[in-house]
Every structure is written in structure tokens, then in C-alpha cells.
Subunit: 441 residues, 2 copies
Amino acid sequence: MSARAAIVVTGTELLGGRVSDRNGPWLADRLGELGVDLAHVTIVGDRAEDMLAALEWCAARDVGLVVTSGGLGPTADDLTAEVVGRFCGREMVLDEALEERIAEILRPLRNRWPGLSGETIRASNRKQAVVPVGATVLEPVGTAPGLVVPPAEGRTGPTVVVLPGPPRELRALWAVAVQTEAFERAIVGRTVYEQRMLRLYGLPESQIVETLRAAEAAGVDMGAIEITTCVHRSELEVVTRYEVGNADVYRAFEAVVRERHPDTLYSEDGSSIDDQVVALLVEQGLSVAVAESCTGGLVAARLTERPGSSAYVLGGIVAYSNEVKEALVGVPQATLVEYGAVSSETALALADGARSRLGADLGIGVTGIAGPDGGSEEKPVGTVWVAVSARDGGRIVRQTRLPGNRAEIRDRSTTLALHLLRRLLLGERDAASTGASAAAP
Amino acid sequence: MSARAAIVVTGTELLGGRVSDRNGPWLADRLGELGVDLAHVTIVGDRAEDMLAALEWCAARDVGLVVTSGGLGPTADDLTAEVVGRFCGREMVLDEALEERIAEILRPLRNRWPGLSGETIRASNRKQAVVPVGATVLEPVGTAPGLVVPPAEGRTGPTVVVLPGPPRELRALWAVAVQTEAFERAIVGRTVYEQRMLRLYGLPESQIVETLRAAEAAGVDMGAIEITTCVHRSELEVVTRYEVGNADVYRAFEAVVRERHPDTLYSEDGSSIDDQVVALLVEQGLSVAVAESCTGGLVAARLTERPGSSAYVLGGIVAYSNEVKEALVGVPQATLVEYGAVSSETALALADGARSRLGADLGIGVTGIAGPDGGSEEKPVGTVWVAVSARDGGRIVRQTRLPGNRAEIRDRSTTLALHLLRRLLLGERDAASTGASAAAP
């Protein structure tokens, strides 16, 4: 068997379109880190026949390791353990010690939801303790145990790692699964890869295509490294995977990108704009505050995503109405009247107002037209101004016209705000402030 | 061929784990609306061999319609059209008129990115105009045309709808694809289903399992309806699909749910909590403002997600530090000192302060410990207070202990805030205000 892996996600609700699978991408990432090639991800409903077909397809594609997610719950449509047992040629048996341990876990639940009958709980408890003979049991984090199931004696085929659907349980049990002997055996023979990511902001994806060609023309052995590019949250990510021996090739490629895109390449170590902004804020001991209009709280929400963000985020004002812009942020009425709420002057006044009203070192101001209504010929939907300002009077203001729908425009505006904040933190300043931009000190 | 469908999503970046596929769930939803059963979703990398294997697996699983997403771009790893042509037994030809139309589309791009060479553009233009003979071409919305490709004369197998990866383009071309004759032919024989959704808030998923059993015991023919339950954004969604003739069975089932869960069933028509809050605000002509701490802007961001939200959202204050809570929201220092920043008194003061400082009819206050740090024995991580208040003094305050990580706690707090706002809008009030909760008027 090869070291190629596949992921089989089960859940009829995932085929209904209302819920997106989050486990597949997470597992894909983990497999990549282990240097295990991922052949495909399949999402099937909670039907034994479909699940079995998906597993058999994995075997037909010469996959050595299959990771499944979901279908370990207490209901009748939770079939994964049984289907995997059949696929691996192993009988199902009740593990009584496991049954007792699950009962232990369910006891507090029983007190919390007295409406649940003892009968219901006992039945689901027992069901979850029936496992394929010879499988390695991964102790439950929720109520469902995970499994590592190699093919039965004398059979060929992939080893199957069976994990529960709730992301927290899946992640915890994955950590246990990779430590098992059965898992190790299944991925023997994998190639060890290095993976690196470059991030660029403000470069169209098609330009990187030209750069790949330029690198090849410059003599970089592009066949020795595997490059994937994609646009994520309006940033261009260039991910390169290569065998350890080809690190020199990668360095040569990286040098070409650096030379061709000095302004847009902002991360050579895969760090995100959020990582960089947080590191700079902490390093410089500075605090930040936001006054935002069209982003409606998203800039503040993103800045407070990380644990410990209270060390550098004081807060923000969502100044959706003009009254709030005036009263709470201190945007002068004259600015709103003369230049309009969507203008560089208002963006600056928002940044300055956020800073002074919240007593922060740095201020961010965002104003724009997220649409779908409210656009004009002069200021169409997607017109957004972002300003950042510092105590010393230094500031950067940018106007942009963002493509996309309302949610995309809001999200991209947020990303732009972080990029301007990074530039400000790195000491960049707009050459001259316009006289018209005065606001709170 | 049956009316079963499958989705094949291509993109090596989707196997890398950094990017989640958004097209699969969206297409799944559309297929469900059409009454086309979805057999599975497969995600494969940009390798001809893997793509072809995925298509062949669809054929083996007796699928009549395959929808592909991605792989229509200008780069060499964009192979979908060619692979699908081969799979359907159709030769590839250059469609010169299409080439010309794509050139027309690329012209402005060329001006926008003068760095792109004419050669690059011409080559990708030509590549995107090479299509399988006999396919129906869907005019590009971006630069890539979509395709509807039936099996070649004399062959059996599924019809393949080929759509570009960018969600906006995919969605626009899907609308065109379903109108084509080739598409209609591929889904002939589908059953027409009705689909209904109930939403419950505050009910554990295991209790609905008992309710399904209770409905069966009460004589509801549960075999005649297909029920999927799932938890989404801390709400329980119960989706039922049934053939049109079984509407009575569904109504009987719905009555059982209504009777057993009067407090937690809040939506019988599938409307989300967001839908309901917006409708109530608009209907009653009321405005809302937020002062939030641990959610860091997420409540404001969610309230401003919809077009036209400026009609009822005035804005908010992200009061992350105590200084901001005092200075901007007017939370009395005594309240913060006596009860702490995470307390019902502070939540109420935030709600009242938001209302009075922003001049809104209704106020929302959120404060809590999103973790992972900052918890104590008395107030562990996940402890969150949410308060809503109205001009007339009416208010609702709730304490909760939310499970999950930081992001989940923040998201669930946001959902709770919307549910309390809904209750307030429906006239519910806490019986008596505690004397200690005084804050801004």
C-alpha cells in the first residue's frame, strides 16, 4: 500500500447544503504536515451502501490510509463503525469495559437533561461500545470512541481511522490516533516534504503565473517543487511543497518572487497579516482602537479574535449612522456635510476619533459602500476608504474599489485595514496630510 | 440513468486544508431544491488522472448528473474541460466565436494590469475557448465559460455540468445551466419533494431523537418522511423532505414537535433568528444599538450583515477595556468594582448605555469570558451574560455557560443575543429588575 490517504466524511446533513464540512480541510492539513499525500475527500450521506462504496473506491485508488469523520453518534443512522468493520473484514463485538467507561461519561449528561429516558441513554451507550475485533480503540473525548482499524489478517486494503464528527472530538482523537502502532504502519513509506508559504497582498493571481514562468526561464528547476496558488480572504497564497533535498530550488524560486513583487510580498514565513499585526503591536507595546462604518464591527471582531487581544485592543465604535459618527467618534459635522460620510476625510476623522475617544495609540477608520444599495456613479458599491493614524500625526489613507458582494466587500475592507495598520506599524506614512482631513486630535 | 447527482470539486488547494470548499454545499442545496438526490461530493486535486477517476466513480455509482466546480482557469493545471470531454467521449475543438467573446472580456483586465504580457493573455484566452464538441456552452461571467456535456452519441453515462470555481461565477452559470435542454434531459425522472425546516434553540440534539420516537409512537408514519437534524451556530435544525403526497404526515410530525418543545421551537417556516429579528425590528419601526465586550464586534457585525440594515442598526460600541465601558458606554465604575466586568449588572449597564448613548430604542449588552484565559472557579471560561433592554424599562438578562473554544463561545454568545432581542421584541420581559442593575437611563 502506498502512503496516499483519503478522507471520507459522512453526514446526510452535509449533502443538504446547509452545513459545510469543517473536518475535511482540517484533516487535509494534518495529513499534509505528516507528508502523506491526499488523494481525495469524499462526502457521503449516512447510508451504509454509500459509505461502503466510498471506502471501496479508496481501496481501488490504491490508498493506504482512510480517515473517516462522523457517524459515531447514538442514532440509528450512525453507522460508520459497523460499515468500517465490514470493509476491513472484522466482526463487531461489544467491548464491555468500554461500555462502562462511556456510561461514566454519560452520567453528568443524564443529570443535566433529566428529560432523557434511562433507556435511550443505555441503548446509545451500548451501541457506541460495539467495535470491530482487533481495532485500536481511541478513548472518547465526547461520548464516542474513535477507532484505528487495519485490514483483517490476510486481507489487503487501507487502514481506516474512524473519528467522530464534532470538530473538537475529532481533533482530540486525531492526536491520539497518530500515536498508534496501526497508524504508523499504515503510513510507512511516506516521503517527507517541506512546505512553505508566501503571502502577497494586492497582486492578481494571473501575475504569479507569469512569475512561475519567469522563474523557470531564470533556470529554477520548477519540476522539483510543487506550487499551489490560491486567493484567500483577498490575499494570494503561494504554497510550495518539496522534498527536503530540494530546499535550494525553493530558495531560488523564493528569490525570484521577492525580486519581482517587493511591494506585495509581505510574508515569507507563512505568517498571516493577523499574525504580523499582533506581533508588531505587542513588540511595540501599542494599543489600537477602531471606528468603522461599512464593516459594522468586523474590524474590531477580527482584532479581538485571538486570546489575549485585550492587551492591545481597547475597543471600537461601530458608527453606522452619521449621528453616531458625530456624537461618539467626534467626526465634525462639517466634514460629513462637505465631503460626505464616504470620503477620505471622514475615514481619517474616524481613525483619529477612535484613537482619541478610546485613548489608544493607533486608530483605524473605515467607511464605504458595501451595497447592494447606496452606490452612485461617483461612488459605486465597493468604494471604501480606510485610514490609520498614530499619535505622532502619522497616517495612511487609501481609497479602493472592491469587487464582490456585500459580505466580500466587508471582509476585504477588513483585510485592507489590517494591511494599512501593518504598514503604519512598520513606520510607513503618507507623504503629506491633506489640509481637509482635520478631526479630533 | 437515475436522477441521482454527484458533485466533483477540483482544486489541489482544497486538499491542502487551508481553503474550504464553498461550492459543494451551495450546489448541494440547489440540487436538493430541484428534488435531485445527491449521492456524494468528491474533492480531488488538479490532476487529470484523479479527476477522471472521480468521474468514473460517479458513473459506477449510477449517477445521472455530475456537477464539477473549478479547473477552468488560465493555468496549465486547469484541466477540467479536457478531462470531461474525454470522459464523455467527445473531442475538443476551438470555438472561435467564443474565443473572440472571451478576448472582449479580457480587454479591460489588460488595461488594469499592464504588467501582463499580451502573449499570456492570448494563450489563456485560447485555452478557455477549447470545448468538447457538442457541449452546450454557458457564456462566461468571469472569463471562463461553463459547459453542459452529455455523453457522446451511443455512450451511456452521466451528463456533466462544468462550472468555474469562483463562487460568484459558479452561481451565475448554474442559473444558466439549469435552463438548458441537456440539463433537463439529465434530471428527467426525479421525484418532486417538498422540504421544510424547523429551528429550535436551546434543545440538545439527543432530545429530538426522543421526539422522533414519540411521533412514531403517536402513529405518525415516520417512514414516509425523511428527517435530518443538525446543530448549526448553536441552533438545532430539523429538515424534513417528503414527497408531495405526504404533506399530511409532515403536518402531524410538526404538531408533535410543537407540542413537545413549545419553548425552544422558534421557527416553523425555516426562517432564521436573523430573519425574525430583522422582520420584527422593521415591522415595529425600532432601532437597536449594541455595547459588547467578549464578542468584540460580532454582534454589531451580524446585525449589519444584511443590506439595508442601517434602517434599524444605529451602531455599537466594542467596550473591550473597562475604561471604554465607563467612558463611552457609561457603565458606572461602582458597578464594575462591585460586581465585576462579567456580571448581570454590567451586561444590563452595557445594554442601557448602548441604548442611551446611541439614542436607540433597544440596547444589547454582552459581557463574558471567551477564553482560553481569564476564567476563574466562580466564572469559568464560557460564562457569558447577555442583556437586552427597551426604552420602557423592559429588559431580559441571561447568564449562560457556553461550551467550546474562543471562537465558538463568541459565536454562540452572538446567537444568544439575537434570541433575547427577539424575545424582547415579542413583548417578553424579565419579571422584576434587580435593584443592583441601575445604569444609564
